[in-house]
């Protein structure tokens, strides 16, 4: 054959049919093939050169790939068969809240009455959207116990940075600029990174032997240069900071603010509200708590809710309910400005509102209860195999440790995680939080059943048995997956981020 393009029609790369690799779309490309179809417009087809000066034209140097629609479909359908997802099975990836995402919420987001609206349309023509956003803001405040919120941040980390900029604006407005932010050593990496971008310095607060913030040491760190503290509660060990009121009082006493990292909000819905615990700023990961599917890594949405004294600083403009019942875009008086190109990840916001409405106050409370029940059951069920780092009642997730397996058989947490893939489960989060050795962080979420938890526990037990029988096999796991263990070091050593780099 003249063309050396690879076949688009061979399914050997779909795990159903074998375990070959899937060619890239570029390898399948054949010059002159096409899939696109455009409207017939009747617009005069003046030559581009007659419209735009030659200095601007690129000389047709940009090539995409040229495939038929059939091959496009086959390629991406096969790629989808090489991908694990919540819809295929349990995904107990700690800290990520990989719960079931109702298809109904997807349908809401696909409604052209919402998603065909241009964000630059006048507010008079988009009253439905403004009402939706204002309503969501109200409901998020009810859930968190705060006064107002911005819906602009596109994810949790963006929410963190927004929150830190709010802290900064607040202190500056008080003529009291401060430099330091306290962060527990168990915190998620986005927290310190956000602190730096917010123009602050990180002071790490150690955890005590119960896995909680060491109150004494915390107090020792406090001084008038402390702008605030960032906490997750329950923290990343899945444990509730029981001394939260004391912490809040201490931080407030030196004039600092409390930031709530809402990644773990799922655990406390209807049980306790960040506002009631004394937090001043809360970000929510709507894609976790409110079941927006994670999309292979995004999109998310990270609204930030604040207490009364911070309301005037919120990013804007905000969709606001006016006295006459209409809605308008209003910028808070001392707004820090925009943190998103438009109004935030609107379709994610709409999904979250639909999710909240279906559940209602009662349903959200059940979500937290069953999430916590599931995590505790699993922790307890696995205690003989993978002991908990801190063995007592946890919240929505539990951090277990593979240290006994490592010490006895040389089988590490990563090996357990990889072997779980062969058992039909996604792995838990490995090696996080950093303060636990051989950490395996399981978050079953509330949508998994007792039967599934039991199946997971039995799978872990089988792996533990394999650790005794044949630890080497575990180092080689997984083998039944589309690819076996990949060489991560090689990827980093010699970066190949594109097909063009690959073929050089």
């Amino acid at each position: 054959m003249t063309s050396r393009a690879l076949s688009g029609g061979r399914a050997a790369s779909a795990p159903l049919m074998g375990h070959e690799t899937e060619p890239t779309i570029f390898e399948m490309s054949v010059p002159g093939r096409s899939a696109y179809q455009l409207r017939t417009t009747g617009v005069p087809s003046t030559a581009l050169a007659d419209l735009i000066p030659a200095t601007h034209l690129n000389g047709d140097v940009v090539n995409i790939a040229e495939v038929s629609e059939r091959d496009l479909v086959a390629h991406f359908t096969r790629l989808s068969h090489r991908q694990f997802s919540v819809d295929l099975g349990m995904y107990p990836l700690g800290s990520c809240t990989m719960k079931y995402n109702p298809k109904f919420c997807d349908a809401v987001a696909n409604d052209p009455g919402l998603n065909s609206v241009h964000p630059g349309s006048p507010a008079e023509l988009t009253q439905g959207w403004l009402e939706l956003l204002a309503t969501l803001e109200e409901k998020l405040c009810a859930v968190t116990g705060m006064a107002a919120a911005t819906l602009q941040p596109a994810a949790g980390a963006a929410g963190e940075l927004t929150g830190l900029l709010l802290m900064r604006a607040y202190h500056s407005a008080n003529g009291d600029p401060r430099r330091r932010i306290l962060i527990p050593d168990s915190a998620h990496g986005t927290n310190p990174a956000s602190v730096t971008l917010g123009g602050f310095e990180v002071t790490t607060v150690p955890s005590n032997d119960r896995g909680l913030v060491d109150l004494k040491k915390l107090k020792a760190s406090l001084d008038p240069d402390v702008a605030g503290i960032m906490l997750t509660n329950p923290n990343t060990l899945g444990l509730f900071e029981e001394e939260i009121t004391e912490i809040a009082a201490a931080v407030h006493e030196v004039g600092g603010l409390l930031y709530y990292d809402g990644a773990n909000l799922n655990a406390i819905l209807g049980a306790v509200r960040p506002g009631d615990m004394g937090f001043d700023i809360v970000h929510m990961n709507l894609h976790k708590t409110f079941a927006t599917p994670h999309g292979g890594g995004g999109p998310g949405a990270g609204p930030v809710a604040v207490s009364q004294r911070l309301v005037e600083f919120l990013p804007g403009p905000k969709a606001t309910r006016m006295d006459d019942g209409t809605f308008a875009w209003v910028k808070p008086p001392r707004s820090i400005g925009r943190v998103h190109g438009w109004h935030g990840n609107a379709m994610v916001l709409a999904r979250a509102l639909a999710y909240i409405d279906v559940h209602g106050g009662d349903g959200l409370t059940r979500v937290a209860k069953y999430a916590v029940l599931n995590a505790n059951w699993l922790r307890h069920r696995l205690r003989a195999t993978l002991p908990a780092a801190y063995d007592r009642v946890c919240m929505h997730e539990c951090v277990l440790t593979a240290t006994p397996l490592k010490n006895a058989y040389g089988v590490r947490g990563l090996d357990v995680a990889k072997a779980l893939l062969e058992e039909g489960f996604h792995s838990p989060t490995v090696y996080f939080p950093l303060i636990v050795e051989e950490a395996l962080m399981f978050e079953p979420t509330e949508t998994e059943s007792l039967q599934t938890l039991e199946a997971l526990a039995e799978a872990v037990e089988r792996i533990a048995q394999r650790a005794i029988d044949d630890p080497d096999a575990l180092h080689r796991a997984p083998q039944t997956t589309p690819v076996s263990r990949v060489d991560e070091a090689r990827a980093a050593r010699h970066l190949i981020p594109t097909e063009d780099a690959a073929s050089r």
């Binding site: 779309i25 005069p44 009402e131 990496g189 400005g337 990827a491």
Partner: protein
């Protein structure tokens, strides 16, 4: 009780018994009573899906600016392009939708390879070799570019053309509150950045937009020269559709490319989720924000993909990370890869060309109207700004009654006066044409606008 929870009462009892508890309350007993919610959340009871769907029709029916009611001539960085059923179908596959960040590459080759293909496409469209796996949107992409420029130069001054989208500039200013960057704006003259008036000594970055937010195509050689002269990085925000026919960021000598990926398969979506495009030179690789996927092999030597250069990322580098991005916009990146696969080389060129043809056809018709005046005499690509001699916001509402979304009011975009515009800003309308607009629709636009301004 309409929800998605599997727990039966019997199972709850069984699970509690296993834990030695007799109520769910006990699980929360260690929370200080003082802060416990006793009344439940102040929210209505749960409703069934069809009840919520009925409720949501209140929102959808109160939105007038929808595709079924209005023909869209609005742009300003967000474009009404063809999104075929095939792209929606593929991007909607639940394996892509309900997965998370590919932490376990052995069961995530689907997303990883799709991102690898996306990265390849972004590299080609930008003309720069090191793309990332997506950022939130163009505005936050610009912020990351400034941080990268700061990292590369350790300087704080950011010289930004006023041709950069007003919202992007606004976001840059917001985040500069944290980083302490000094933002220096360079206004436009006749729609073109007046680089000569700026002092760029000690600049970390020279930032321009191509086309600029008024639609104008500026010759980027001047900006590039300024960057070179001052040892600054040249950051170019560019319309990725334009790259089908116009010079790429790389061709103009950019060090960093940022762009808005919405035009590739993502609906207008009231502004999000969109897709922040990002690419840079190899010199900047170690400062790349966000995730990047690289090629490698598995233990059986099969070609595989994995997220790489992880040492830059926040979960490992913490306060010294190059960026705090964790969750990004993967699904939109996958969508873009699919949409670009559907377009192919020829399709992308045709879309770009048709945008230009439609915009020029409308422009020529509009400036024939008495009182309508172009804001700039310079070349443009797919959009342009005109003075209407009437309040642009009011004109838009009048046009809407005839089913035409006439564009975006510049005053609304800049929320205030704009030194880059000669004369009144309130009467300036930014008008966009994509490949979806037919001649009939354009002709009707002209008619409706004439009527709206009483011509």
């Amino acid at each position: 009780m309409a929800d998605y929870l599997p727990h039966t009462p019997a199972e709850i009892d069984e699970m509690l018994a296993f834990l030695g508890m007799d109520s769910l309350e006990q699980l929360f007993a260690h929370i200080p009573p003082a802060v416990r919610l006793t009344q439940g959340l102040d929210l209505p009871e749960g409703m069934s899906e069809p009840d919520v769907a009925a409720l949501f029709t209140n929102y959808t029916s109160a939105n007038r600016a929808t595709a079924s009611e209005m023909t869209c001539f609005a742009g300003a960085g967000v474009y009404d392009h063809e999104v075929p059923a095939v792209v929606k179908t593929l991007a909607g596959r639940s394996e892509f939708v309900t997965a998370y960040t590919p932490y376990q590459p052995e069961v995530a080759q689907g997303v990883l390879q799709a991102i690898f293909e996306y990265q390849t496409l972004i590299a080609r469209l930008s003309g720069l070799p090191i793309p990332n796996a997506s950022l939130y949107d163009a505005a936050t992409g610009l912020v990351e570019a400034l941080n990268m420029a700061h990292g590369a130069t350790t300087r704080q001054k950011m010289v930004i053309s006023a041709g950069v989208h007003p919202h992007w500039r606004e976001a840059a200013k917001t985040f500069a509150r944290g980083t302490g960057h000094e933002i220096v704006e360079v206004p436009l003259k006749d729609g073109v950045t007046d680089w000569r008036i700026v002092d760029a000594t000690n600049a970390a970055a020279i930032v321009a937009s191509y086309p600029n937010y008024l639609g104008v195509l500026e010759d980027m050689s001047e900006a590039k020269a300024l960057a070179v002269a001052n040892d600054a990085l040249f950051v170019l925000g560019a319309d990725p559709v334009a790259a089908g026919v116009l010079k790429t960021a790389g061709q103009w000598g950019a060090d960093i490319f940022v762009g808005e990926g919405q035009p590739f398969g993502t609906p207008l979506a009231f502004g999000g989720p969109f897709l922040g495009l990002f690419a840079c030179t190899t010199e900047q690789t170690r400062r790349l924000p966000g995730r990047i996927v690289g090629e490698t092999v598995d233990s059986n030597n099969r070609r595989s993909f994995v997220t790489t250069l992880r040492a830059r990322e926040q979960d490992i580098r913490r306060e010294k990370a190059t960026s705090n991005v964790c969750t990004n916009q993967t699904l939109m990146a996958v969508t873009a890869a699919i949409q670009l696969g559907w377009l192919g080389t020829q399709g992308l060129r045709e879309v770009a060309t048709r945008c230009a043809q439609g915009a020029h056809y409308l422009f020529d018709e509009l400036v024939k109207i008495d009182g309508v005046k172009a804001v700039s005499t310079q070349p443009f690509f797919r959009e342009f700004a005109v003075h209407l001699g009437h309040d642009a916001s009011a004109v838009l509402l009048t046009m809407a009654n005839d089913g035409v979304l006439g564009g975006v009011s510049i005053a609304a975009l800049t929320s205030g006066p704009d030194p880059s515009i000669d004369g009144d800003v309130d009467d300036v309308l930014l008008v966009t044409v994509t490949e979806r607009r037919t001649k009939d629709e354009i002709d009707r636009y002209v008619e409706v606008l004439r009527k709206a301004i009483g011509q």
